[in-house]
Symmetry: C2
Subunit: 287 residues, 2 copies
């Protein structure tokens, strides 16, 4: 199976390397061409445009920063749509607007090309280890055909439903993660201000009904003042803006989510954007 | 070891039965005397006042509804302080004000009696199974002496620190649980309104960085419209009022927690108090 791969950032590069390791034939493209060298050395061909990366490919994967970048590489002047063959599959693994995703999928359908939206969670460590969670929307037939591709990059791979449902599931994940993170931060602040032994208290609550991944993994880091990113505040803020767009389109009010999003937006505006999400704690620490 | 046991409600009764099963000699007291019958049949003595339950006991356990009930059974006219011997231990397993707890402990210290605050989590099912989490504050020596008593009722038993620290840890637990619950509710609402396959989406997110006990256990109940209580909204609201008292005394602002608490208070005021905490969802469902 021949794959075009577009976007060799912190996530894309290790994912592309895992595809090579699994034996797929790869042609890569990246806006900053120098980032292609590692992949060239590992055996990939290098294309000079998204259209060229798509030429002759059975599947084209895109993983770039945001909605307009995806639009540019897919449908721009030198975009994937210029090179891709009828019968191939486009797999967008970026986290972008589900509304735009549905529009892109319709454009490719007109060319006889199926599009899957397949955003991931698990961060750069999951990308390196090949243990990402992948949430997929789009035609079931295309999903089945591309399953070996997903299996080379991820562990928990779920076909959720039609086009856009991968992106929507990812946004539900971000609502859940951001809210759970804020609950963790509030609880840590009360724990510290109460003068409790934090190690003992974190341990005592971890296995109960209040427990979460965030509590077990990030509360100890907050206490140790370790704000290094697993997942950066500025990236979560970007996703929470997509949540706002989606909620608005559904006429849905999420009061706690709105407060939570404001905290992450404020943290980003205060220069904390490059910290891990647990760094939202630093918004409050001086109060 | 001879134990006085005061408070045979939904939590106290199965906990007292587990103590009998473990071989402890029990004298029970309950304000509504008829609730003592099950315990009498199981082999407990029945006292006609808290003071009488405390007479000759090595340890006296209280588990009643709120701070003034604890004050009444401990320090009221017929209270534990009238019967308890110097050298014995008072163990309050209710969830009450940590500030009042510290005052009660000082009163008993004057009588030569150690007091432990040992609130629990795990609900009535945990109380029946003897698998409660028990968070203990108070003198280490008294904790060690009473450890076999705790082991007859719970599984995760942690001595957190001095008097009041059990209650404070319990309140941190409630902040964490309430916030994580609201994140779950927001995420479920977005999931449903987006038209996602809820079973698949819940499963897809459960093992990742957004996962929590609340998500795995309560999100499926919300989707199934099962609002039966594990833990009732009105009891969580009571605990969140204790959190407000504690935060105020520490001059600590917890903005998301305050919004979260308002949701549970509103739910209680809207007649949803007897539902499980996941029932806070019903505050929003008509919007």
């Amino acid at each position: 199976m021949k794959i075009g791969f577009i976007g060799l950032g912190i996530m894309g590069r290790p994912m592309a390397l895992n595809l090579l390791k699994a034996g797929f034939e790869l042609t890569v493209y990246n806006r900053t061409a120098s980032k292609c060298e590692t992949l060239r050395e590992a055996g990939a061909d290098v294309a000079s445009s998204p259209a060229e990366a798509a030429r002759g490919a059975d599947a084209v994967i895109t993983i770039v920063s945001n909605t307009c970048d995806v639009e540019e590489v897919l449908l721009g002047p030198q975009g994937v749509h210029q090179g891709i063959a009828s019968g191939a599959v486009v797999i967008d693994m970026s986290t972008i607007s589900p509304i735009a995703t549905e529009q892109f999928a319709r454009r490719f359908e007109e060319l006889g090309v199926s599009m899957l939206d397949a955003p991931v969670s698990g961060g750069d460590t999951g990308a390196q280890a090949g243990t990402l969670s992948i949430m997929v929307g789009g035609p079931a037939e295309a999903f089945q055909r591309c399953l070996p591709v997903f299996q080379a990059m991820g562990k928990t791979i779920t076909h959720i439903g039609p086009s856009g449902h991968g992106q929507k599931t990812k946004l539900v994940n971000q609502v859940l993660g951001a809210g759970t993170c804020m609950a963790m931060v509030d609880a840590v602040r009360l724990m510290q201000k109460s003068g409790l032994d934090c190690d003992k208290a974190i341990q005592a609550l971890a296995g109960g009904a209040a427990g979460s991944w965030q509590w077990s993994n990030l509360a100890p880091r907050v206490v140790a003042e370790d704000f290094a990113p697993g997942f950066m505040i500025k990236l979560l803020s970007k996703d929470l803006r997509l949540v706002e767009e989606l909620a608005r389109s559904l006429n849905l009010e999420l009061p706690i989510q709105q407060e939570t999003a404001q905290c992450f937006f404020k943290a980003e505006a205060s220069g904390l954007g490059d910290l891990g999400t647990q760094g939202v704690y630093r918004l409050f620490e001086k109060k």
